[in-house]
């Protein structure tokens, strides 16, 4: 492959890998900005991936070409409901939010696999017929160089994901709800004195994160794998968590980090087949661990200062100081 051809392959694939990460990471931004640590993103994503595939298989005859899109909504709904468990535990029951998140992760994969065995009698689902389609944007795809990179064989979900990042930025920084969300995450007692219902905002934030992580999972299963089994998600949720931190708890930052991690994942799977000498010489393991190592470095302050919301992970108990 020539250098340009390599780019024509790598860039669309990177964006495709990034889309589920963007959705999930921005979900994480909502939750953590409100002060609820959400390690459970992985389990919520698993739930979304599972519901997406099952809905797609069950209703493909009813909805035809629209099936994968409606499946995304179904996944969003179920994962949002599932995330209420995390909200109840961490907001109302004052549970350790990390432990509750770990429980959500274990429960998500357990429920999904249990249901798969119940429905299909085997460890993974059938393959779906209607994946999320790739589209070629008319006119724009004819632009030299940029066209084949960004506008050919593009997933509609990737466009949605990038748009979501800007919508999330607007919601968090430009609306009253966003201001309340951030204030609840920084100083819940001050927010409470100003008449903001801390518990309500936190519930809303966790449920939003559940819905977005559900969409993320359903995008992953309906673009990348086409079926659901125990290894379908396998760490994507934690990578989204990493993207959220690497993006410094900011929607646009998370977008950038997710795109970069998508790029690293693409290199990891395709480094061997790229005909550029120095890339071929790098063992794939370095690309595999790159997102995680970078996140550690970012946290350590080597890549700018990353400040978590002040009240992140602290249950708010009315009346105590």
């Amino acid at each position: 492959m020539s250098f340009l051809e390599v780019l024509y392959f790598i860039i669309p694939t990177s964006i495709a890998y990034a889309a589920p990460l963007i959705f999930t990471a921005i979900g994480g931004v909502f939750s953590e900005r409100s002060g609820v640590v959400n390690i459970g993103l992985e389990g919520l994503m698993v739930m979304g991936a599972f519901v997406g595939i099952v809905f797609n298989l069950a209703f493909v005859n009813v909805f035809g070409g629209w099936t994968p899109w409606i499946a995304l909504l179904a996944a969003m709904l179920v994962a949002a409901i599932f995330s209420i468990m995390h909200a109840v535990a961490s907001v109302s029951f004052r549970a350790d939010q990390v432990v509750s998140g770990v429980a959500i992760n274990m429960l998500g994969i357990a429920i999904a696999l249990f249901s798969v065995k119940l429905m299909f009698g085997k460890g993974q689902t059938d393959f779906i017929q209607q994946k999320i389609p790739r589209i070629n944007v008319p006119i724009l795809q004819d632009i030299p160089i940029i066209g084949p990179m960004f506008f050919k064989s593009l997933y509609g979900t990737s466009v949605l994901a990038i748009a979501l990042a800007f919508v999330a930025w607007f919601v968090i920084y430009k609306t009253p709800f966003g201001l309340r969300l951030r204030s609840v995450g920084e100083h819940p007692m001050a927010a409470d004195t100003m008449g903001i219902n801390v518990a309500k905002i936190r519930y809303a934030a966790v449920i939003i994160s559940g819905g977005l992580a559900g969409i993320g999972g359903a995008i992953y299963s309906q673009t990348m794998t086409g079926d659901f089994g125990h290894a379908t998600i396998n760490g994507q949720g934690f990578m989204a968590l990493a993207a959220m931190i690497f993006g410094k708890w900011h929607p646009i930052g998370a977008l950038g980090a997710a795109l970069f991690f998508g790029f690293a994942q693409t290199l990891a799977i395709s480094a061997g087949s790229i005909d550029i000498d120095f890339i071929q010489k790098i063992p794939a393991v370095y690309f595999h661990i790159l997102p995680y190592v970078l996140t550690i470095l970012a946290l350590a302050g080597f890549i700018g200062k990353a400040n978590a919301p002040k009240a992140n992970g602290v249950p708010y108990i009315k009346g105590s100081r």
Binding site: V37, I39, M85, A89, S92, F93, R94, A95, D96, V98, V99, S100, V102, A103, I104, N105, M106, L107, I109, A110, I111, L113, F114, K117, L118, H230, A231, N234, G235, F238, M239, L241, A242, I245, P283, A284, V285, H288, I289, Y292, V293, T295, I296, L299, A300, G301, A308
Partner: protein, 348 residues
């Protein structure tokens, strides 16, 4: 009700609630929960083979539980037991296969290698926490994935492109013909004694040494400890290192006892995450960890009998385990419930 009784009741109620919800799930999925739990019971205690395998399963659970509990006592959440276990497993298998030594030297060195590998994997988040105040939860999660990919790459390298390492030398093996014969040829090995010895080690460090006192003190209040002249940073690093060493030994259980080699891993073993449950249920005490590990180890192994004997997917047990963690974590609400109950009684 005294505080002590409530502290004991919370895990017990959580277990009962977990099993109850599990039964409801089975009922709604069209399975017979009574049959299911009988199959689970038989899978754990049914015959001497099952008992042997259950004890074998409990050994790494004890060590994983100790790892989480030890860090907890210093106020640290080591969610990276999974990764530390994996590097420990690999180190044990590598040293176990690469050298030819008499058993009396080889086995201790191999165990030490596993502990050391785990300790190094715990050292990184420890240092970052102590010097730069980086939250250990995120770093250890990231270290898990680094471990997963690095270990898989190492397996490929040392085995010359294969997905499985060589078998370890018999001089490094924890396998025991005696224990195996005793339990109808199960894979029960001497690892359980290593695990129990480590329980005593943890108890000794925490309760009988100055270091242990400092570690616990830092866990209670960093500022007070600092003011009292303790080196908080050193204690944080030390706690993560010891925790990692326990986790590394848990990996050695799998490498030297159960499997005798290491296969390329598609995902995590789950033992490390279950270790969180074990520690939580055992209230982070050495003795509690034995109980927690016995419960979760038994559930995990006994579950294997459920698909055959009762035709129920074994994931039901994972659901139950996750629910138990969830309920223990939500202990606040159980406490409130118990107090209300108590007040009503007193009012009468």
């Amino acid at each position: 009700m005294s505080n002590r009784v409530v502290s004991l009741l919370v895990p017990v109620i959580s277990i009962i609630l977990g099993l109850l919800v599990g039964a409801i799930v089975m009922l709604f999925s069209g399975y017979d929960p009574v049959n299911g739990y009988i199959a689970l019971w038989n899978g754990i205690f049914g015959d001497s083979y099952a008992i042997g395998e259950t004890i074998r399963q409990i050994s790494p659970y004890i060590l994983a539980g100790l790892a989480v509990a030890f860090a907890f006592r210093t106020g640290l959440f080591n969610i990276g037991v999974e990764g530390q276990l994996m590097v420990g497993w690999f180190a044990a298998v590598y040293v176990g296969a690469a050298f030819e030594l008499p058993m009396i030297i080889h086995l201790p060195i191999t165990l030490l290698a596993a502990a050391l590998a785990g300790a190094i994997w715990g050292l990184v988040p420890g240092i970052l926490k102590a010097t730069l105040r980086v939250h250990e939860v995120i770093v250890t999660i990231m270290m898990n994935y680094v471990a997963l990919h690095v270990v898989n790459a190492l397996i490929k390298t040392v085995s010359g492109g294969s997905y499985k390492t060589e078998k370890i030398q018999p001089t490094a093996s924890l396998r025991s013909d005696f224990l195996s014969n005793l339990t109808d040829y199960s894979t029960l090995h001497y690892g359980i004694f290593v695990a129990l010895a480590m329980v005593i080690v943890m108890w000794f460090i925490l309760e009988k040494t100055k270091t242990g006192f400092e570690l616990k003190s830092v866990g209670f209040n960093e500022n007070a400890s600092q003011y009292a002249g303790m080196n908080v940073k050193k204690n944080i690093v030390l706690s993560m290192v010891i925790s990692g060493a326990f986790a590394g030994l848990a990996g050695a259980m799998e490498g030297l006892g159960t499997f005798g080699s290491m296969t390329s891993q598609g995902g995590f073993t789950g033992i490390g995450f279950d270790g969180i449950a074990v520690a939580l249920l055992g209230a982070n005490t050495p003795l509690g960890v034995i109980f927690g590990a016995s419960l979760f180890g038994s559930l995990k192994y006994g579950a294997n009998n459920m698909p055959n004997a009762a035709n129920i997917p074994l994931e039901i047990v994972s659901i139950v385990v996750a629910l138990i963690i969830f309920f223990v974590a939500s202990g606040y609400i159980i406490r409130v419930g118990l107090q209300r109950l108590n007040k009503k009684k007193e009012a009468k």
